[in-house]
Subunit: 208 residues, 2 copies
């Protein structure tokens, strides 16, 4: 009786430990596939996330230009923006980006001639990759910009560069161009997280 | 002694059951976020997957046209294509789509005027949603096309319609336009899963 009781306790204990192990490894699996935070090398350069193409797609533009420089004849560039799923879900819930959010802008060449396509543009090779990273304890004003050369880790772009001041001045939410992300702009409007500078310009434009 | 032994067995048992519950619900969470298969209503219509915007993005085109019909003046349409992560990973591994794959084509209006943008196009409202579904036991030749009206479940598009014959004739892999998905075309080339009709045309075009 005593032996069988001990065996029962032992079996239940082993089963419980096995369950805990499964929960922990299962949880790790969830984390690996759904949580992505910035990684830096020993020199402080941002490592290009190798799985960003499996992140949530925010939008794509073609030949967008914020300056008055004329477009380059015959050259077309798509810009695809991706964000980790956990950051996307946090934004959908709160209307702001959580700390450690990474937005990846992947530029791809556009082409018209190919297979049966006759007009318009489709995407081909990568033309450049940039990152916009929220890391409150690391960057002045909370965000850093990086431009990758291939897959080599990237240095922080100088905080005096125009990308910082332009995003600070014109971005709809938290220095990010949510005005161009059609699934998120309604969230920011509803949760009232639009920047005051963006709201002022949008109201002026709507009144024109 | 007997009481404390029973209490111990009971506690271990409850803990084990709690662990099993956590494993099962954890597993369900993984399934919900990473496995997506077609769902049909009782009338056999395809249900629009409500989370397709969190799927893997294959590519976006602008104003692509396979016919000789002229573009509509001043109207621009982006086409974004999404596929579940499990199907994407299966394609990356095998160069073909697994059974139950769903590709969603989301059309969005393009706009130039907005915020600080000066040229080019960015995406705004949804203009239409279509699905291309691989369901070997359900559809003739394995694939079915659907066009959604809002979020209402969609009837199968008649298998005599031109979308079936055009995809069968021109698609790079397994009736899908992988030639326009820049992360997957190299996979199909490497794994030698390009259709013979696509290969012939691509070789002819390359020789021109």
């Amino acid at each position: 009786m005593m032996k069988s009781t001990l065996a029962l306790i032992l079996a239940a204990g082993i089963f419980a430990i096995a369950c805990v192990f499964t929960v922990v490894t299962g949880q790790a699996h969830i984390l690996n596939t759904s949580v992505d935070v910035p990684h830096y090398d020993s020199a402080g350069r941002l490592v290009l996330p190798d799985d960003y193409r499996e992140w949530v797609f925010l939008s794509a533009g073609l030949d967008m230009n914020y300056s008055d420089s004329p477009p380059v004849e015959g050259r077309h560039i798509f810009g695809n923006v991706f964000v980790p799923r956990t950051a996307y879900r946090a934004f959908k819930k709160n209307g702001v980006w959580p700390d450690k959010t990474i937005l990846i802008l992947e530029d791809r060449m556009g082409a018209t001639k190919g297979s049966i396509n006759k007009t318009g543009q489709f995407q081909t090779d990568i033309a450049g990759i940039e990152a916009h990273v929220k890391d409150l304890s690391r960057f002045k004003d909370g965000w850093g910009f990086f431009a990758f050369d291939g897959t080599i880790p990237a240095d922080l772009i100088d905080t005096n560069s125009s990308c910082y001041s332009c995003h600070l001045e014109h971005a709809a939410v938290d220095t990010t161009f949510v005005q161009f992300y059609p699934t998120l702009l309604p969230v920011a409007k509803k949760l009232n997280t639009l920047s005051s500078s963006y709201r002022l310009v949008a109201e002026r434009d709507a009144g024109q």
